[in-house]
Amino acid sequence: MSDQQHWPMWEVFVRSSRGLSHVHAGSLHAPDATMALRNARDLYTRRNEGTSVWVVPTEAVTASDPDSKGGFFESASGKNYRHATYYEKSEGVPHL
């Protein structure tokens, strides 16, 4: 059993209804893409979620490094001018 190969990992994306985008739901193991889709159906669409499911090999995902969080994301904060918070609402404009 020790040399038993484990199934590769897949990331699952579920779209809960038309018009929404696919959202990461979690991950699972499966021997291939077809089975990954079946497993995703069993694991992530049991409560009527989902009109569409994507599976992606985990190894195909390039992720940002959690340890370099500071340098990677921090510089965005403090730059208030990137947010549209300084605009004054014009008078007489309804529904804003």
Binding site: W7, V14, S16, S17, L20, V23, H24, A25, G26, S27, L28, H29, A30, P31, D32, T34, M35, R38, N39, D42, L43, Y44, R46, R47, N48, E49, G50
Partner: protein, 278 residues
């Protein structure tokens, strides 16, 4: 399974407009003696197979497959609930009465459903045969003149389609996989094949009800079953086992002791603590 981030889904538990066992109980339809016997017989098949499959929970080769088999077992137990609920209307019995308080010889399950799980290959071989049989059966039952049976079939057939797909996918992978996996599925098919004929045997009850357009004659499902199985096995580079058929037990449980062991485990709790709820 760490996160469950789909929008507004984590707590959504709608039944949709699907039929539930409680619906069947509330329909007010009362089955005749024959219809009840027929519904109970179909339920017996689903109960035995579901009970067998549920053994895999915590024992399947991978967690994902564990859940897949458990899902199928739950589907089958659901079909049993529909069918027993309906059958019970004829005898003033609940689904639990029929599942837990009948004796071995009162069940009419086919021996295929009762066969041991063996290894994964053997379980998948049983799934292949059972699922294709049920697919043909419930598809034909959609046209039953008995509205309750037709409604139950409509619910069941969608789930059985998935069971067929699950079995197909695995037969392909085992058949076309390694030498060992091919050997396992071949052995599984060889083990299960002797119990195929019994599934398609017309009993008197079938004939009586089929004349009224209520039941499906099992023999009428055989040709399509053979064709579908052959197609899958051909694709998986497997052969239909050339093995003699087991002597017919006509669903009485004769010539087999397996049913008694399944029931012992299934019924012990309800019998030891009658009326227990949790």
């Amino acid at each position: 399974m760490s996160s469950f981030a789909t929008v507004d889904s984590a707590t959504r538990q709608t039944q949709g407009d699907s039929l539930t066992a409680e619906d069947v109980q509330g329909l007010g339809a009362k089955a005749s003696e024959d219809v009840a016997a027929y519904a109970a017989m179909l339920g017996d098949d689903a109960l035995m197979l579901g009970q067998r499959l549920s053994w895999w929970i915590s024992r399947a080769p991978e967690m994902e497959e564990d859940i897949a088999l458990a899902n199928i077992a739950l589907d089958l137990t659901g079909h049993t609930r529909f069918l027993y609920s309906y059958a019970g209307t004829a005898w003033d019995k609940t689904e639990d009465d029929l599942a837990y308080f009948r004796e071995e010889e009162e069940f009419r399950s086919a021996r295929l459903m009762e066969q041991e799980n063996g290894d994964f290959g053997q379980t998948i071989a049983r799934q292949l045969i059972a699922s294709y049989y049920m697919l043909g059966l419930y598809t034909a039952l959609l046209d039953s003149k008995d509205e309750t049976l037709a409604a139950i079939a409509a619910k069941a057939v969608k789930e059985v389609e998935y069971h067929v797909d699950h079995a197909n996918q695995w037969v392909l992978r085992l058949g076309l996989g390694t030498e060992l996996s091919k050997h396992r599925i071949e052995e599984g098919l060889y083990y299960m094949w002797p119990y195929v004929d019994e599934l398609f045997e017309d009993l008197e009850l079938h004939t009586r009800l089929a004349e009224q357009g209520i039941a499906v004659l099992p023999s009428s499902l055989r040709a399509e079953f053979d064709e579908r199985i052959k197609h899958v096995l051909d694709t998986a580079e497997l052969e239909i086992p050339q093995t003699p058929q087991a002597m017919s037990g006509q669903r009485t449980g004769r010539f087999s002791e397996l049913r008694a062991y399944i029931l012992a485990e299934l019924q012990v709790f309800a019998r030891k603590h009658p009326g227990a709820t949790w």
